[in-house]
Amino acid sequence: MNLHPLAILLQTGLLLALAPFVSGVIKNWKAKLQNRRGPPIWQPYLDLIKFLGKDVVISEHASWVFSIAPYVVFLTALSAGLMVPILTVQAPLSLFGGALALIGLLALGRFFLALGGLDPASAFGGMGSSREMTISAIAEPALMLAIFTVAITAGTTDLSRVAAALHEANWQLLNPAHLMAFAALFIVLLAETGRVPIDNPATHLELTMIHEAMLLEYSGRLLAFMEWGASIKQLVLMSILVNLFLPGTLAADGTVAAFGLAFLIFVLKLLGLSAAVVVVETVNAKLRLFRVPDLLSAAFVLAALGLLSTFLFQ
């Protein structure tokens, strides 16, 4: 198998374009659900353009790490996105790495995000990085175990092959292992994308914010790439969920029609998932930091059960 430049370009464009849309949708629907008017769906695009144009203010204490962090976050999220099958079973970069590489890349992005938070010497940034690293650390085992559950049934960590395997196996979703893995991954998704009940993307209250705290000192295009990278990461994780657990609808052949169809269904699936996220965010309150581990360990247990059930039902 070899690389299709066209596919790469296409998927890159898709990620760049779709990511702000998803966050916009979620913000908007959440507002609606809470009887507010809320920002328009395309608000994130406007924000990005605005940020890109603005001057950059850099802290006097910050070093070069501060300025490269946003680009690392952006690029890692983007290249991670190229390993996920979105429209076709065959992800453009599945040859360059599967689930493990994807997790690794996202972790690399987080690494620099946290460093960027520490660099301006403000207490908030440090607090944010500390919490971010803690939560991701305890989210990691659940994530890995869930991935393992899927990968074991497919026999590979290559997401395209996993998708393909599930594609052939008709309607795998009923498999309890997958249900539990899905649930686990959903919780991890909430944690990784900084959603209620783990984090509150809307707040700027010092003591509760996590992701925002790290971005506090960023401005201008640096902030733009930070935000954009975050939303791309969110899109990537969501598309893993939707495409690995409901793979039936990925485009089988290369015809334009098939692509179009796949794209539509993909967007629908995303909207469905976003709706779920919105509901969860609305009906739940943010957890205290030290209650978060309980939630994530619940995810871990779910994934472990899923694994156990693959073991039992084979």
Binding site: I58, H61, L100, F111, G126
Partner: protein, 686 residues
Amino acid sequence: MPPGFPLMSAIFINVGLILFLVGTVSSLVLQRRGNLAVAFAFGCSGLAALCGLTAFITFLVAGFSRPIPAYELFPSLVPNVHFSVRIDALGAFFGMIVSLLGVALSVYSFGYAKAFVGRKNVGILGAFFNTLLLATTLVFLADNAFFFLIAWEIMALSAYCLVSFEHEHDETRSAGVLYFIMSHIGTGCLILGFLLLFQASQSYGFETFHALGDRMPPAKRDAAFLLFLFGFGVKAGIVPLHTWLPAAHPVAPSNVSALMSGVIIKTGIYGLTRVSFDFLGAPPNWWGVTVLTIGTISAVLGVLYALMEHDLKRLLAYHSIENIGIILMGLGAALMFLHTHHPVLAALALSAGLYHTINHAVFKALLFLGAGAVLHATHTRNMEEMGGLAKRMPKTALFFLIGAVAISALPPLNGFVSEWLTYQSLLQGFGTTPSLIRLMFPLSGAMLALTGALAAACFVKAFGITFLAQARSQHARDAHEAPFSMLLGQGILTAVCLLLGLFPVQFLTLLDPVTKQLTGEVLSSKLTAGSAWVLSGTAPQGGTVSTLGITLIALCLSSIPVALWWLFARRSRKRIDATWACGQPILQPQMEYTATGFSKPIRMIFKALFRPHREVQREYDYSPYFTTTIRFSAHVEEVFETRIYRPFRRWVWWISRRMRALQAGSIQAYLIYIFLTLLLLLFFAL
């Protein structure tokens, strides 16, 4: 392969060994003339290591999977002792590691040891540095148990002398003693293990030990395995035998710490591999299970304790425990695969472990050298007094950052590759056995994930608190960049990190002889998917990864930000301004996040393990609501130290004190002893 090739490497090795000796002697002779001693000692060690490197690499490249015949270094004049060495793939691989580090560390030491000239006797430092390298190389080359043990003990002895180099501090002395005692106990176990083999084969030769286990009674075989596991485990610093490691590694001079964390603890891995794959024959299942479990526990606990440290070098030492654990996961899985007769998977897991061995050697040495440079610049190991060094020593900061990324197993660097291989082998291990045991694989995989994430957290803390933000103390404020040779030493290791990360397939060919020797499988061909730049899990459709590809793609994608900048932000300016300080006039360093604070969430989450306790002293003038000064200190309890080692030590002292009463000084009592002995023997005789 060209004939006489082994001869070549043999010659190179001999030259190297002789050079080490020359280095030892010359630096002892020149100890009065500090700088000259430094030049000679580290010059010789560097050249010697270079010779060794060429020899071992040529050997591995030529791919001798079968050992070349042993030869005597120098004729022994003592019966039963033969100073004979042989080069085989495993030994050559580890020899390559020690030589590689030897080169980089010697370069680094030129600048580093200068700092001691006049203050301490650098001649001693150089001499024992050479001896240590020499002994370690011989450990990997020794061909019989007697010689192996001699080299092993000399290694321990010189390491002890290096650890207690700055013996003026009490902490250093006690650490050295603890290290030497535990290592000696370990050596005792090794002696017993080897003697069990000797009992079975009536010989000391490693040749005759090969696959000896199959001819031994199972009980003795298992006993030997356990003895070796203990003996080599002490050296490798597995939990719960690790307590000496975070004590001894930090107090040594940094180039020595790098050597110890990089290579010396790897001798334990070497021994374990040698014994369990070469000597003891087909392993029963519980060996693999034990090693895998120990590995997992060591990995998780190691990184957890590392997170609690704010002493930079102790933090790194704890990470050595973690990485030893990861290596052992690979070895344990390999043993289990051997038991279930999956040689290819065994080869995969083994190469994962060995790959991580060399990776850890490189980036841990790199990090210790960085820490050494920081120590050299700030004269403190306490991270709470550092900060802002990225501006004052940018190159060191860059090297340290790369090391940190590598040890956190982040792509595209070498740590990621070896852990990726470990994941692959664990993943495929699930299918190898129908029994419930197979759940161990994914679970330890999850623990490995936890370890990786915690390591990332820990190094965000290590790098962030040490190098970023503003300086927390005067030391840190007037820090300066390290001299050239120290930077060069770090640079070499950084380059190796990148190479090992970006060209794994090419490197794995060097491992072929080893896997061929130990598992009978050649791997590198199975590990390349299509192009030579893509690494693949061995299974028919295992995952693939290409660090090089990822890097290139990322570079291509970075055109997007550039383009966007050109489109929107060409005219935007960059302003430097103060960080928002909540309305305070200026941002005080005290307002920064501290290392202790950074790791507090983890400390709270795992409080069952850490049993943290804190002391807060606050002073105020007129009302407790307006505190003038506040002093906070948090401690965690090291369970093994407080629950196992300290009580045992107390018990020993108590017994000994009690026994002194026997020698109370009264001659009557002494006469009674003799009298009773006489009566006893009279009864015994009649």
